[in-house]
Amino acid sequence: MSRHEISLTVNGERYELEVEANRTLLQLLREDLELTGTKQACERGDCGLCTVLLDGVPTKSCLVLAVEVDGREVTTVEGLSRGEELTPVQRAFIEQGAVQCGFCTPAFILAGEALLKHNPRPTEEEVKEAVGGILCRCTGYRQIIDAILDASKSAKK
């Protein structure tokens, strides 16, 4: 199997790594960089819990090969807060009780961040569409949608 040298930026930090061809971005993040905020679940692109931002775009990391991200920029949930200071989306998730078991929370927060970045005042329909690829196994969608809508309002103030 081929091995490849790659360099990538994760949460603002640069890494030089050697990866085997069959390594996924999800494995690289969790196992090599020990960034376990990104969750491993279905591993077939159905549940979306492994969602990260690849050059700012929400992407299911279980379907991305590590070798492909050479030269690119990845943001995981660990890269959002500045020290203790949470983002508006993160704060809204706490205030709305949008975290239940917590397993899907990183994915929803990243999808929410990406949405608000290019659409700061989304409608409820737009929020639902944007998070449509992520499953909450507790089915607590109401609070998640409300949290992202709340964050959009508070960020504007």
Partner: protein, 286 residues
């Protein structure tokens, strides 16, 4: 679980890709968005020795339009890029709508239109629209280039007209006839992410004689166009009568199966219902 082992190759030009495929074609799989390939590799349904990533080839990123040639969608163009295109939304409405029903927005950020047709699922969301729009598939290999109509591209469940060593460079969609109206309806079990129970695309235009096209997905081994529909509208009678006749022809010509998403009988019924609905919309009948 790690994926099975393979070598990763990333050609930079279509010439290099054609040469790589000529050498390793039998043991290789092309990799664009990976939203189908990684899943079947994980399930060990395919075990390629070589995974050839086409995303390094600049030429395959082409998404362009002009008055004469129509739309060109390169093999590495994602569905999100297609949906973001103003030209696609304004001039190729059925395709734009169909692209927006495929899976979910996160998948669409990676998945490609060319990958959708090369995967050749009977449920391929973009296929009915491409069929009614008379799309063509540009196929390249080390031996040259050929262009075939999309209706000759699908050969069976997960089988296409591609021969070993060939790849799809682009899908070309001619401009719809003057004054054409087109639409796409996807019937699924939920409003969210799901494969189609039935998908129907329709196109009508008056270019001297009445032109009516209907194509469907998830109702036969391949997505298909039902050319017999057109004849119905060449005869006389009320539009409502013609629409009913067209729907009954569609139901006759399809061969759906029962699966986890729906029974065969339900699919037959809904194919008729959706055909009527879409024809009423685009013919402007009440």
């Amino acid at each position: 679980m790690p994926l099975p082992k393979f070598d990763y190759l990333r050609p930079q030009t279509t010439e290099e890709l054609a040469a790589t495929l000529a050498e390793h074609g039998a043991d290789a799989k092309l990799f664009a968005g990976g939203t189908d390939l990684i899943v079947v590799m994980r399930d060990k349904l395919v075990r390629p020795k070589y995974v050839i990533d086409i995303k390094g080839i600049e030429e395959l990123r082409e998404l362009s339009w002009d008055e004469r040639r129509g739309l060109t969608i390169g093999a590495a163009v994602t569905l999100s890029e297609l949906i973001a295109s103003e030209v696609v939304r304004e001039r190729f409405g059925a395709l734009w709508k169909a692209a927006g029903t495929l899976a979910d927005p996160t998948i669409r950020n990676r998945a490609t239109l060319v990958g959708n047709i090369c995967n050749a699922s009977p449920a391929a969301d973009t296929a009915p629209a491409l069929l009614v729009l008379w799309a063509e598939v540009e196929i390249v290999s080390a031996n040259g280039k050929r262009v075939i109509p999309i209706r000759e591209f699908f050969k069976g469940v997960k089988r296409t007209a591609l021969e070993q060593g060939e790849f799809v460079r682009a899908v070309r969609v001619p401009n719809p006839p003057e004054g054409a109206k087109e639409d796409y309806l996807k019937w699924g079990r939920t409003r969210g992410e799901d494969l189609a129970v039935v998908g129907v695309a329709g196109l009508v235009a008056n270019s001297g004689k009445k032109l009516v096209r209907i194509a469907l997905s998830s109702v036969a081994p391949t997505p298909l166009i039902v050319p017999e529909v057109e004849g119905v509208f060449k005869g006389g009678g009320s539009v409502e009568g013609q629409i009913d006749k067209a729907a009954s022809i569609v139901v006759e010509k399809i061969s759906p199966i029962s699966d986890v998403r729906a029974g065969k009988e339900y699919r037959l019924h809904m194919a008729g219902v959706l055909t009527k609905q879409i024809l009423k919309r685009i013919l402007g009948a009440s």
